[in-house]
Each structure stands twice: as C-alpha cells, then as structure tokens.
Symmetry: C2
Subunit: 132 residues, 2 copies
DNA sequence: AGCAAAGGTGACGCGAACGTAAATATGACG
DNA sequence: CGTCATATTTACGTTCGCGTCACCTTTGCT
C-alpha cells in the first residue's frame, strides 16, 4: 500500500469481509481496484464505496440496487441529464428509507409493549412461586 | 370459514402472498393451519403470525429468526423459564432494531446532504446553460 | 354423469450472494 | 535455491425463499 491503497487482506481485516466477497463485488462492478501486476490494490474510493455497499446491504437493498445508487456519491464530473436522473433515483431511495424508518418505529413500539406484558407475567409467576 | 378461519385463497388475497408461500411457511413451522379433511384452515392466530412474519421480513430477518421470535407473541400459557428465555431473545431483538434505526437515521441524513449537493450542482449547470 | 375450480403433494428450478476446493503465480526470506 | 505465505482464476457447491410444473383429490354446479 502506498499509503493510499490497500491489499485485499487489509481490506478484509478493515471491513470484516472475505476476499471472495471483494472479488465478487469487483465482478459485479461495485468496486474497481487497480491492478499491480496480478494483484488488486484498493483505493480510497473503493473503501468509500465498500462502506456504502455494506450499509446498503444492512437495509435490505440488493447489490444491483446499490450499484445504481453508488453513482450518486460520485458527483464529480456528471452532466446535467445524468445528474438529474441520479437525483430521482436518490429521491425514491430516500422515500423508501423514510418509510422503513416509520415502520421500524412502529415495530419497536409494539415489541416494547409486548415485552412489558411479558415482564408483568414474569413477575406474577415469580410472586406465585414465592408464595407457594 | 366459520367466521374465524380462512381458506388459503382468502389468506392470499388478504396478505398478498401466494399459496406456495403459505404452504412453505407451514412446512417451516411458522404457521399451523388446522386441516378440514385435506384442506387448510387458517385461524386468527395464523393471521397474527403471518402479519409479524411479513414485517420481520421487511426488516431483513430470516424466516428462522422470525420463527424463534414468534413465540414471544404467544405468551398465553408459558412457564417461567421459557418465558424468561423468550424475554432475552426479545431484548436482543429490540436492541438490534434500535441500532438499525440509528444507522438508518444516519444514512438518511447523509443521503439528504448528498442530495442537497446534487441539487446545487444541478442549479449551477442550468444557470450556465442559460447564460450560454 | 360430467367437468371446471380450488386445493393438495412432491419434486425440480432459480437468482442472489457468496463458500470452497483445485491449480497456478508472485514475492519475500533464510 | 527452496519454500512458505499470500493472491489469483476457474468452477462447482450451498443456502434461502419461494416459483413452477406435473399430477391427484375434493367440491360444487349443471
């Protein structure tokens, strides 16, 4: 690593993924490590992308969906049409995430309520066990 | 349906799933429809469970994880040990969901920021196009 | 009796996202 | 120089969550 690039092993250790995964992501055009001879060298850009990939996965997006969204974070030299299209994709994505958050909030509230119920029943059971 | 049970078709229409899915969930012991002769009759309990199954799926839980969690919502005639164990599972689950929400919030904020960036660039591009 | 609709049971298939094994190459080190 | 560690390519295998197909049974009309 020339201070800016990392080997596959360093990447794996940093992000807790396997080499297979990184090669797989490259094959799917999610990452673009440069080649020094036969080996891969992952750049700062690859690391940024990988971080977003892993996050996207945690929220249930497919690799293909993620691939499309990654362009959003590469707004360097885009032309108007491309940028506008990307913007729309992002809007839909944002809306999805907001809906997801709302649903998640509800689920959390319900689970908390259910747990309070369970806690009460536990107390009752234990009180009875003591009384006996 | 005797007012309390539903046929497979009614279930499919209500929850927007296929028969295959319901049979699959039964095979995986997520649902327990009663049998009238050869046919399945889904109870109120099955409907409650299915609702939770579908929600769990939206949050990225596997069917197996969901199966274990479903017991939490069947706090009818549980014994102390079982109930306590279930409670712990629920706690971990709740923690996971809360972490998920936090991460989601951050992702949303970042995406919003990125979109503002894109919006500005779009305006610049359009301003320049007008000036030319 | 005839027959179409609805339901059922295997069993095989499929895309996503990697795991894993085999064979080969590259580079560092004693 | 050998060899040990690390990487690479190729390719087949695996798990999950159903889809799909072929082939019966049951039920309700007409």
């Amino acid at each position: 690593m020339t201070d800016q690039t990392m080997t596959i092993r360093q990447m794996c250790d940093s992000f807790d993924v396997t080499p297979r995964t990184l090669r797989f992501y490259e094959a799917k055009e999610l990452l673009f490590p440069i080649r020094e001879g036969t080996k891969r060298l992952f750049t700062r850009r690859d690391r940024a992308r990988l971080k977003l990939i892993l996050r996207g996965k945690r929220f249930g997006f497919s690799l293909e969906e993620i691939r499309q969204l990654l362009d959003l974070y590469e707004t360097d030299d885009q032309q108007e049409v491309q940028l506008a299209r990307t913007y729309e994709v992002a809007e839909r994505h944002l809306k999805e995430m907001q809906e997801q958050r709302a649903a998640l909030d509800e689920a959390i509230r319900e689970l908390e309520a259910q747990m309070n119920w369970g806690a009460e029943r536990l107390n009752q059971l234990r009180a009875r066990a003591k009384a006996a």
